[in-house]
């Protein structure tokens, strides 16, 4: 009974609850028990069976996993960092509050790279997350716990955050759907800040319809986040079955032909393009001449913003304070050195350097101009195309430890996802098929990324829905639960 329940999408479970066929408490408890038995390291906190919700009609008590970057009143919120160990926020993030008001129940808080800085979930102070397709491999990051939980049948769906790819890349590596909405679609209030001009909340789900459901429940203006304007007209449930009349752009230097893309990923992408044509869309070559500089601009801008945002962790108002006999400055320095992990320190150093006197124009100023160019490339491309398609990640899931000694190699994992973040536009990753890892071994999921102009999520989800049906990805991770298919 319960093993079969865990195979449903959230939407399928919702339909059964609405028809009276499924008891919402039994459904929640089935997941609460699965989460208790987590062997992937996906959860940092779990509600356990018996948690009861608000009774909201929209989501009818469905369980949801929430990345540990969202403040939850009275419930531990660590952002994957030692510096926030034991922190219980006095308020709840708007996105989480809206889900609760819609009737969703908090199933657990998921593991993540510390302060969302990472592409493998190996930067968590609380241990790595393992990929349910192969536990010797990473789930991607930084929303690795959310992605592994959804793929591994430990949650029906989850939310995460995406600053440069942190929803889309782990979704791709775990074989699920991940949507980064337009910057400004969902409130950032109560979402622990990494890079404020880029951070955006979004869903990680088993299908495109579920992503639309979660986006619809969370989006909208918020008096607590003045950058959040919401999606005009709301979010329509996707229903499209073809891609007739749509023009899909593919950029030569920013697609399967780009340097460093694994052959298996490129082959899956080419098969996807055939399906896109088969559904009636016109596929053409577009130009995104500055997209290849996305990583360079991003690794100036995001660390610069992070170095300012993370100045608040000083041992005064919350979190860790290191024992120090000395003065205030030595307390600050010791607290931050004990509390932050290696990647966070590296980014704070990088950002502080880029903003420091004498280097500001050369790094930060130039990176902001490259950002303008990248946004302009997309704007030009969208004059001739409705959607832009790329692989989500240049590689399938890599082995734990494979990139930890080479920060730059890790950063390049986000090659295809960073430019959309810089431009602030929505992008979705859907399962595109399976590919063998370069060193051999069982096949692993590949993601296809589709991007569209700002605030056109309904159109993007509609197209993704049609393509999802054509791809018909029905593989299941072998390490998901004990029950088997």
């Amino acid at each position: 009974m319960s093993a079969e329940l865990l195979e449903l999408t959230a939407g399928q479970a919702l339909a059964r609850i609405e028809s009276g066929e499924l008891d919402s408490d039994a459904y929640f408890d089935a997941y609460a028990e699965a989460a208790e038995a987590d062997t992937l390291g996906a959860y940092l906190w779990r509600a356990g069976p018996g948690a009861r919700g608000s009774g909201g009609e929209r989501l009818r008590g469905l369980p949801i996993a929430v990345k540990d970057i969202f403040c939850t009143e009275g419930i531990d919120t660590t952002a994957g960092s030692r510096i926030l160990e034991g922190y219980r926020p006095p308020y709840t993030a708007t996105a989480v509050r809206r889900l609760a008001e819609s009737g969703a129940r908090l199933l657990g808080k998921t593991n993540m790279d510390e302060f969302a800085m990472g592409s493998s979930n190996e930067n968590s102070a609380y241990g790595p997350v393992r990929n349910p397709w192969d536990p010797s491999r990473v789930p991607g990051g930084s929303s690795g716990g959310s992605a592994a939980a959804v793929a591994g049948r430990l949650a029906p769906w989850a939310i995460g955050t995406d600053t440069g790819g942190s929803i889309r890349q782990p979704a791709a590596l775990c074989g699920i759907v991940g949507l980064k909405p337009t910057y400004g679609a969902i409130s950032r209030y109560g979402m622990i800040a990494f890079a404020s001009s880029l951070d955006q909340c979004g869903p990680l789900t088993r299908d495109v319809a579920d992503a639309a459901r979660l986006l619809g429940a969370m989006q909208g203006p918020d008096a607590c986040d003045s950058t959040c304007v919401g999606i005009d007209g709301g979010v329509q449930m996707p229903s499209r079955e073809d891609l007739q009349g749509l023009r899909v752009g593919v950029a030569r230097d920013f697609s399967h032909e780009a340097e460093g893309v694994e052959p298996g990923v490129a082959a899956a992408f080419e098969r996807n393009l055939e399906l896109i044509r088969g559904l009636g869309a016109e596929v053409g070559e577009c130009e995104l001449p500055h997209a290849e500089h996305g990583i360079s601009a991003y690794y100036v801008l995001a660390p610069a913003e992070a170095s300012a945002n993370l100045a608040r962790y000083d041992g005064v108002r919350y979190g860790l304070r290191a024992d120090a006999d000395g003065d205030l400055t030595s307390m600050y320095e010791r607290t931050r050195s004990d509390g932050f992990g290696a990647e966070v320190k590296r980014r704070i150093m990088l950002g502080t350097y880029a903003l420091s006197s004498g280097y500001y124009d050369a790094y930060y100023g130039r990176a902001q101009r490259v950002r303008t160019k990248i946004a302009g490339d997309f704007a030009t491309a969208f004059e001739s195309f409705d959607l832009i398609a790329t692989p989500t990640s240049p590689s399938v899931a890599f082995e734990l430890g494979a990139r930890t000694q080479d920060p730059l190699a890790m950063y390049l994992s986000d090659y295809f996802t960073v430019p959309m973040s810089l431009a602030g536009i929505p992008a979705i990753s859907i399962p595109a098929g399976l590919a063998p890892p370069p060193g051999g071994g069982p096949e692993l999921p590949v993601g296809l990324q589709l991007a569209s102009p700002a605030f056109t999520e309904s159109r993007l989800l509609d197209a993704a829905h049609a393509l999802e049906a054509a791809i018909a990805f029905d593989a299941r991770p072998p390490a998901a639960g004990e029950a088997g298919p």
């Binding site: 001009s197 950058t227 108002r317 205030l328 990088l350 502080t352 730059l408």
Partner: protein, 94 residues
């Protein structure tokens, strides 16, 4: 590209105390990252406006009406060393 002295200077600005090992490693890692980032120095960006924010917004206003804020006790609850309704810290000149 980044030497030991620069690492120590930036660490001071960022209020980070780095071990000898960390200083050593940081110099190498930051140099290789910046070498990659340097590629943008070859782009012609004359006359290009910097982007600070992607959503075009101006003066998001709300009515100036008083409303309750977080109670003081709740705000102090997560503090490592609250005292007398405030956050206690070591002296700046201990």
């Amino acid at each position: 590209m980044i030497d030991r002295e620069q690492v120590l200077h930036v660490a001071r600005l960022a209020r980070l105390e780095l071990s000898e090992d960390e200083v050593e490693r940081m110099a190498g890692e930051l140099s290789s990252i910046l070498e990659h980032v340097e590629r943008i120095s070859q782009l012609d960006l004359d006359g290009v406006e910097p982007t600070t924010h992607v959503v075009e917004l101006e003066n998001v206003l709300r009515p100036d009406e008083p409303r309750p804020s977080l109670p003081r006790e709740r705000a102090l609850e997560p503090a490592p060393d609250p005292a007398d309704g405030a956050f206690r810290v070591p002296s700046p000149q201990a």
